[in-house]
């Protein structure tokens, strides 16, 4: 246990924030002690991000006060939050890709020499800072092409450079590999030991148990409970979050049918040099969930994009029910009977400005039920969208609302719902439960299993090993663009998979 004093550094009192008729924060109060790690947990749309945005000055509360060191403060914008020693690593990184690490970190507080930006001094400062907090980074590399874990490190250093005493992390681990998660949690502990006070918003209760001192549970815009981590359990926390006990997904035994999706010798190289996909051969049978396990960045994104026609592969064969769709346009691939849940809900899955109803048919608007002779059938679309929203409990005011106004997890649920409900014989699901709460994860898992039991072929790509192990009838391990092992359900342990994923030879 850290030696945390009980002096309160931050208090938020009776915060109320409404979006139209929706109450995102309903009289929420929070306090944070110096040097502690507080976890804020709750279902999708519970209002966690909203509360953090209020703290960081990105949203203005309708009511409520904020006290820093027992002194009332006003935070109208991010600059004021920063000046008050409050820093935030946001759910979506705020970085400038073409700029270097240093340029990104010193942004807004650049060292000057006369009229000019003193880049040399800046680089030096950042080197020192990265050494001091043991967060290794090369100050002069560009952000472009950096893995997510490093980008996040840039964000953390940025907050430290701004001299923040309070650091807010909003779902920091959602996009990290297990190794990166491990490093991040250690970093947070180190920072807390160095006297920083930390708030972490997350859906992963095992992380909460590992890193936090206290947890605050939110539900439907209200805070419902505080717990000391030492006196609670995952079960209790999840019960507090969703208000019911979760039952394990049941996976009925069925015997798979014929191979609906068969990929042979798929190859892809970039710039004619390193192979990204190296003679990948996999197949998925009807009535089967096939998992692809791998540390992200080992080719799984490219594999999916090649299958779906978003990227052109060099050679190989992709058979859908015996028909070759290799390097066919996306539309043709979709028509052949494939649906996909993309790994990034905002880049691939939706358009921020589109309404929920529009997002609900994106990619499927040509289906006869949605449009005839180029005219949209608004009524069916609305009905369909309404049904999805209800069935998947997407928390929204109305289906006319913009997709960008959904909370992260709710946007994900909407896209998952859309792709699952297309009743295609093949579903490719990439990180289908990224950023959604445990209740919703359960629901999505149930849907995937149901789809498979109805005879569809499901290809599941996930960096959550537990998810792969739980759902997959068969597992392929991918490492550096090669298949590094294949297992039937129950024939492999998490440890073995973990080893194969980092390149150890077949056991």
């Amino acid at each position: 246990m850290r030696n945390q004093s009980n002096d309160v550094i931050l208090r938020m009192e009776n915060i109320v924030k409404c979006y139209g008729s929706l109450i995102a924060n309903d009289n929420v109060s929070l306090h944070l002690n110096r040097g502690e790690i507080l976890a804020v947990i709750g279902e999708n749309g519970a209002g966690k991000t909203t509360l953090m945005k209020v703290l960081y000055g990105l949203e203005h509360p309708d009511k409520g006060d904020i006290y820093l060191n027992e002194k009332k403060i006003q935070i109208h914008n991010a600059a004021q939050a920063i000046a008050n020693g409050i820093g935030m690593v946001q759910q979506h990184f705020m970085l400038f890709d073409p700029f270097t690490v240093t340029e990104n970190i010193v942004y807004g507080k650049e060292p000057k020499k006369g009229l000019f930006f003193d880049l040399k001094k800046a680089n030096q400062t950042i080197s020192e800072l990265s050494r001091k907090f043991d967060l290794p980074l090369n100050p002069t590399t560009k952000i472009q092409g950096m893995p997510v874990g490093l980008r996040q490190r840039v964000e953390i250093l940025k907050v430290l450079y701004q001299n923040a005493d309070i650091i807010v992390f909003d779902e920091p681990t959602a996009v990290l590999t297990p190794q990166e998660v491990h490093e991040l949690l250690n970093t947070m502990k180190r920072l807390a030991e160095a006297g920083k006070s930390i708030i972490i918003v997350t859906h992963k209760l095992n992380e909460v148990m590992e890193v936090a001192d206290r947890a605050m549970v939110m539900r439907l815009g209200k805070h419902v409970a505080y717990r000391n981590i030492a006196d609670t359990s995952i079960e209790e926390l999840s019960f507090l979050m969703v208000g019911r006990h979760l039952v394990e997904t049941e996976i009925p035994e069925i015997s798979p049918g014929k191979d609906i999706l068969r990929i042979t010798d798929l190859c892809l190289t970039r710039d004619g040099a390193v192979p990204i996909l190296d003679h990948i051969s996999i197949h998925v049978n009807a009535g089967e969930i096939v998992g692809i396990a791998g540390v992200s960045g080992n080719g799984q994104s490219d594999l999916v994009q090649c299958i779906f026609g978003l990227q052109k592969a060099d050679s190989g064969q992709i058979l859908v029910n015996g028909k070759n769709v290799f390097n066919c346009p996306v539309k043709e691939v979709r028509h052949s009977g494939m649906a996909m849940i993309p790994e990034d809900r905002f880049i691939w899955g939706s358009a921020a400005q589109a309404s929920i109803a529009e997002t609900a048919i994106m990619g499927h608007y040509e289906k006869p039920s949605f449009s005839k002779k180029g005219f949209l059938n608004i009524r069916t679309i609305r009905e369909f969208a309404g049904k999805l929203v209800k069935e998947f409990s997407v928390k929204a005011d109305s289906i006319a609302q913009k997709t960008s106004s959904l909370s992260g997890g709710n946007a994900q649920k909407l896209i998952v719902a859309r792709e699952i409900r297309q009743n295609t014989p093949i579903l490719i699901a990439c990180e289908p439960t990224r950023g959604i709460d445990i209740g919703a994860i359960q629901f999505v898992h149930d849907c995937l299993v149901e789809k498979r039991s109805e005879g569809a072929a499901v290809l599941l790509v996930s960096s959550e090993l537990s998810e792969i192990l739980k759902l997959s009838d068969r597992i392929y391990v991918i490492y550096e663009g090669k298949i590094n092992g294949e297992f039937k359900r129950g024939n492999v342990s998490e440890e073995e998979l973990g080893l194969l994923m980092v390149g150890s030879k077949k056991l």
Partner: protein, 302 residues
């Protein structure tokens, strides 16, 4: 051989004179591109500057006040356009086109009221921009031809490109400007007033286009004609695009169009139909942009 060299010197000289008005506006356009503003209104603000310069000159007879009037009037018009684009989130194309049409009509109308003429106003009473004295180059007639009858503003255009280069890439303000163009949301979340930076940039680009306009009417022949800019604002935008919104790149882009313009002028004395020669700079614009975009697409496809 000597005739040839002399001919080249004349082309060089005329290229410079044709390119510098474009260069001023092009630099403004490049700055706008850097903050992610597509400022099509530069055609109109350039015309504003051109007209204000002639009016101020007419009343005061001072070229200095004339230049100042061009800068300030163009800046104000541009500043208003910037507010509409950024604060009120008006579609940039619509705001820009409105400005251009408004100014085009307004200057034609005011020309009739103030000078009482239609079409064009020429007067010997007007005081042109000072020319740089090249008599010290007497021994080298070629050099004298190359740099003869250039104004101080022509010279300053190149200096300005270098200054802006340092400004954009070495100063904190320049750094922040570029950042707003890359990711405005991020800039705002880091406490930067991105709106103000964008509006400021649009206003400043207007000021530059005003200088360009002044150079157009007060540089060679001192005259104002209806829509005298004749699309130079658009050409300058193309120059900025070709120069990848880099100040030194804009110099190259403007030189290309300056050269095309000067070729067109020269060919007017030949047997080729004048309709065709006059179209040359515009054809060059389209061709250059097409090739540039094609190359970009090729590069991204790789």
């Amino acid at each position: 051989m000597n005739i040839n060299a002399n001919y080249l010197a004349v082309v060089f000289n005329s290229t410079i004179r044709m390119m510098t008005p474009i260069l001023f506006v092009g630099l403004g356009s490049a700055l706008c591109n850097r903050v992610f503003i597509f400022n099509i209104g530069l055609e109109g603000t350039m015309l504003t500057g051109a007209f204000a310069a002639i009016v101020a000159n007419y009343y005061t007879g001072s070229i200095f006040i004339s230049l100042l009037a061009a800068m300030i009037s163009a800046m104000i018009v541009s500043w208003i356009a910037g507010i509409f684009m950024v604060k009120f989130k008006g579609a940039m194309l619509v705001v820009g086109v409105s400005i251009n049409m408004l100014i085009s009509g307004l200057t034609t109308f005011l020309m009739q009221i103030i000078f009482g003429v239609k079409g064009a106003y020429v007067s010997t009473d007007l005081v042109p921009l000072h020319k740089i004295d090249v008599s010290m180059l007497k021994q080298w007639p070629i050099l004298q031809t190359m740099f003869g009858s250039l104004t101080y503003l022509d010279f300053f255009a190149f200096i300005l490109a270098i200054i802006l280069y340092f400004f954009l890439f070495r100063t904190v303000t320049g750094f922040r400007m570029r950042s707003v163009g890359i990711n405005k949301v991020a800039a705002q979340s880091l406490g930067i007033n991105a709106d103000r930076l964008q509006i400021g940039t649009v206003a400043f680009s207007g000021l530059l286009s005003g200088i360009g306009g002044c150079l157009l009417t007060m540089g060679g022949v001192t005259m104002f004609a209806q829509n005298i800019t004749a699309g130079r604002g658009y050409i300058a935008m193309a120059a900025a695009t070709l120069g990848a919104a880099h100040p030194l790149g804009v110099v190259a882009g403007s030189a290309f169009f300056g050269f095309a313009q000067s070729m067109a002028n020269m060919l007017q004395n030949s047997s080729i139909s004048s309709q065709l020669t006059m179209a040359l700079p515009y054809l060059a614009t389209i061709l250059a942009l097409a090739i540039y975009n094609f190359a970009q697409i090729r590069r991204h496809a790789l």
